[in-house]
Structures are given as structure tokens and as C-alpha cells.
Symmetry: C2
Subunit: 310 residues, 2 copies
């Protein structure tokens, strides 16, 4: 057992326009820092939480990171193992950037490291997903998987957590803006209708298949044509003030596509190089500044490392 | 202007399980033979139709091949050009194998050749699609595009006919069985609900994205997991007697996946080599033989040539 481990688990952008609940990619920043260390006392404890304004519970069974770690320990049949966790939130909550997913991913990696790495990184996924489920009530892996593993991840089937890495083009850069507006993931889910028209399903399918092709062939033209959301964005964007103005600014600045990050309110764009990505970010920020909405801006390539141990 | 041109336009399998209205691939056989030759008289005429049991109209405006060719001539602004078409149907109607699409694809290629090839092959697609629309009342390109161009084709957007070729693994072989039962494409469309549950949309999306990945990476395991239809097959399969028995036989024989070809009643399977594809065909045929349903069997790699001029 190692003395103590610190990890950084990155934010992630889920859905990626046409991949609702099945696609997500990780960013280099922001992210959460999790520390795990062995203790003499029995069982898992959360010893410290910072950056949460007192909002997160210390109760292991109710805390995203704690619950994920607990499920991992139970799986290993060592739930009594003395381990303490420190959770340092370094990214906003309810932002649509996979904040709870990052905490869950970070916790399972940190605990696995402390234990001498009994499981491979991919094997940690189910426990992290259970942790995130605690936070937002839905079982989905499109934030947790990229946060844990890095890259652009396709969750083919959520029930079995059958996932694949989708290669992405060199040069692909994400610009993500987080407007300081609160949307709860549960609310963002509730606005979505339980049915989709067959017409929209076909439209979205065509774009999704083309997006995978474009990513794999490093073809920015195909990515630009297909990075669209015909189903969720029209339903959710009304929850985000000035969404269409921000989207227009991103597209006019040369983004390949722009849509809602996860459940929002963050908005992401993808661009074919860093110069365009910077301009996209500047112009998105200007729109919100004019409306006196504070925002945070993140510009990052597709993070290929996932959660980092250091 | 060439003296006369004969072409062979192949059958095709549309939908390909999880790609309703957006995916299709061509077979080597069966297919239609179309002959075009210049005439002294004014305008386009159909001079001969064989293999149709008298079912197809000689009226150019009502005939799939004739209408496609007419739309091409109109586009080239030479609708008065004297051309005669012979249509030799060498594949069944209403089979779900893209019979009308093959006639339409063959007609535009033959006429384009007679005219000295004013348009590139890809540029012929819109006219062939209009021809097929005459036959089945729906504007879709997932049969016409592969019949015309060969390969596995993704129609990203039907309105603009924005299409892409999806690479397929070497060794991938299609087994297609056509039970001698009549289903009209219009009827097969009518059984499909206008709405899809969000849950099924997500499930189908995950499989579609994985199918594209599996094809491009030549990964038969991924293809086997994802070659499924959660949306259309459950609604349409009741129109095809013994569908599930045939499907079970194909899967038990080692097929990667098995579903309805186009609107049915043909059933297709994909296998990772020709030995399995043959066994799949034998076992599918046995099921129908036991029920005294006559059938035709076709075994073919993914045809990469499309319509052939000879």
C-alpha cells in the first residue's frame, strides 16, 4: 500500500452535439484534485473537501467521490480498509463540464493507486459511473469515461459500459465557455421529451455516423457538416440565456461546430486549430460580457491522458 | 455520342440494421441490365422491358428507369435527345433488394455513357434518386447510392444527398435470402411509427457509431456487437413470416449480425468470411424450406464497383 496519492481528474464535454449519452471527450483543464492515503482507522473516510463552498457531503455514501471509492473497495472485498480522501474541487458545479464525473474518476484512480493498482484503469469505470449516478441520478458514462481514460470516448452501450476510443484529428481544439448561470442536470434532463420523431432520429443518425467518419479520417470538412444536434439542443438551449448568440459568435469565428456541453449551461465549440479556437473563445466571451454575464473560458486539445497520478 | 451502351446495376441492402435510411451497400448479384442507344426520333423512349411479367410501364414519366433518365436529360437541357432504353429486370421486385434503385442507377449511367459522359458518376446520384422516388414514393438514397457507386455508403443528409464511403473490412461477406413473399415498400413504411423513444434512439445511436468504427477499423468483434436494429426491425419483422427463425439460424451459423434488407422481405446477414457466409445461407434456406417457402439466396462480398458499363 502506497503512502498517499494525488491525482488530477479532468473536466469533460459530454454529448458532443449528435452523440447524446454516448459521446464525450476530456479537456486538459479544469478538473478536480483528489488525494487518497491509507489510515490506521477502519473504513473509508472523507477527511477534507475544499472549493465546494460547503456544498458537498462528507458522508461517504452520499458523496460522489466517496461512493465511487466505496463501490471499488466493496468490489475488492476490502470495504473495511482504512483510507482517507481529500477532495479539492477546482472546477464549477452544475456547469455541464462533468464536475461530479471528475470527482468520481479521480477517487477510484486515487484509491486504486493507494492499493497498489489491483485493477486496470478501464476496470475502474463501473465504480466511477456508480459514483456519478449518486450526484445526478442518471446512470451514464459519457463524462466519467473520458475523465477517467482521456480521449473521445464512445459508450456503445451504457448498461454493459461497452466503450471505444474514437481517434481524433491532430489540431482539433475545444473551446468551452461556462456562463455563471445555474442549471441542475436533473432539470436539464426533465426538459427533454421521452420521444424523438423518426425524421429527427434519421437526421441525427446521419450526422453521428459522419462525425465518427470525420474524426477517424481527420477530415475537418466532414466534422463541420456533422457536428450538429437536431434533438437535444433545440429542447435544452432555452435554459441557457443567449445560447444562440454565443453559438452564432463561435460559428462566425470559424468553429467547426458549437453546441451545449453536457446538460449545460457550458457551451463548447470545436475548431481545427488553436488560432481559431482562441478567436472563438474571445468572441463567445464578448457576447456574454455585453449581457453582463460572467463566464469562464477553457481552451484545450482533446485530452488524451484522462486522470493523471502525480 | 456512342452507338449503344449496356450496363449492369447491382442490387443493394439498405438500412444495414442500425442505419435506417442512411446506410446501404451493394451486392455483386443480382442486378438489372439496362441498354441505352441513340435514335433518330425525338425524345427518350423505352423500347423493351423483359423480366417484369408485364408489370412495368413503358411510359417514360412513370417508369423508374425512364424517369431517372429523363431527369438527367432535362438537367443537361437536352430532353429532346433521341435515346431508347431497354430494361432487362434480372432481379425480383418488392424484395427489399433495391430493384427500382438498380433500374434507376443503371438508366442514368447508361444514358450518361451514350452522351459521352458529360457528368461524373457521383453527379448522377440526384437523377437516379428521383427515379427511385417514382417507384416507391419516398425520397431516399440508401439503395441508389450503393447501386450507382458501389461500397458501403453513408447518406449523411438525404435532402442534399451528402454521402460518404465507409471503408469495409476485407473478408466481409453478405448473405441475403429473398423469401418469395410480397411486401410493398409503401406498406413496410406504413408500419413504422413516426416517433422513436429517446431510449431506443440512444441505443441505436451507440450501435451505429460503433458499427462505423468497427467497419473502419476492420474489427469484426465491434461489428458483431453493433450490427443490431432496435427501432425498425421490431416493427417490420412481423410482416416477414419466420423472420426470427431465419435470424436465429443465421446467428447460430456464425453471422456477425442479421436483419431485414431494406423494407424486406429479404433478410441479410454479414459474416467475417465466405465459409461462414455459405453456412449462414444454407441454414437460413433450411428454415424456409421446412416451412415450404421458396427463396433465392445470394452470397456476395461488399460490391465495390457499383454500376458497371460493358
Amino acid at each position: 500500500m502506497k503512502a498517499g496519492v494525488k491525482v488530477f481528474a479532468p473536466a469533460s464535454v459530454a454529448n458532443v452535439a449528435c452523440g447524446f449519452d454516448i459521446l464525450g471527450f476530456a479537456l486538459n483543464k479544469p478538473g478536480d484534485e483528489i488525494i487518497a492515503r491509507p489510515t490506521e482507522s477502519r473504513g473509508l473516510k472523507i477527511s477534507k473537501i475544499t472549493g465546494d463552498n460547503g456544498k458537498l457531503p462528507y458522508d461517504v455514501g452520499k458523496n460522489t467521490a466517496g461512493f465511487a471509492a466505496l463501490k471499488l473497495l466493496e468490489h475488492l472485498d476490502i470495504a473495511g480498509q482504512g483510507i482517507e480522501l481529500e477532495i479539492h474541487k477546482k472546477m464549477p458545479f452544475g456547469s455541464g463540464l462533468g464536475s461530479s464525473a471528475a470527482s468520481a474518476a479521480g477517487a477510484v484512480v486515487a484509491v486504486n493507486e493507494v492499493l497498489g493498482r489491483p485493477l486496470r484503469r478501464e476496470e475502474l469505470l463501473p465504480f466511477a459511473v456508480l459514483g456519478e449516478e449518486k450526484a445526478d441520478g442518471a446512470y451514464h458514462a459519457d463524462n466519467v469515461a473520458p475523465s477517467l481514460l482521456g480521449g473521445l470516448i464512445l459508450i456503445r452501450d451504457t448498461d454493459t459500459l461497452d466503450f471505444y476510443r474514437i481517434p481524433t484529428p491532430k489540431g482539433l481544439i475545444a473551446t468551452v465557455i461556462y456562463p455563471h448561470i445555474e442549471i441542475l442536470t436533473k432539470d436539464a434532463r426533465n426538459v427533454i421529451k421521452a420521444e424523438v420523431t423518426l425524421e429527427k432520429h434519421i437526421e441525427q443518425s446521419g450526422n453521428l455516423a459522419a462525425l465518427i467518419l470525420g474524426m477517424m479520417q481527420s477530415d475537418f470538412d466532414i466534422i463541420a457538416k456533422s457536428l450538429k444536434d437536431s434533438i437535444i439542443e433545440p429542447q435544452r438551449s432555452s435554459l441557457i440565456p443567449f445560447f444562440s448568440e454565443v453559438q452564432d459568435a463561435a460559428m462566425n469565428a470559424g468553429a467547426l461546430g458549437c453546441s451545449i456541453s453536457g446538460a449545460g449551461p457550458s457551451i463548447f465549440a470545436l475548431s481545427m486549430n488553436s488560432v481559431i479556437a482562441e478567436k472563438v473563445g474571445k468572441d463567445m466571451t464578448s457576447v456574454l460580457n455585453k449581457e453582463a454575464i460572467h463566464s469562464d473560458l477553457y481552451i484545450s486539445p482533446i485530452n488524451s491522458e484522462g486522470t493523471i497520478v502525480y
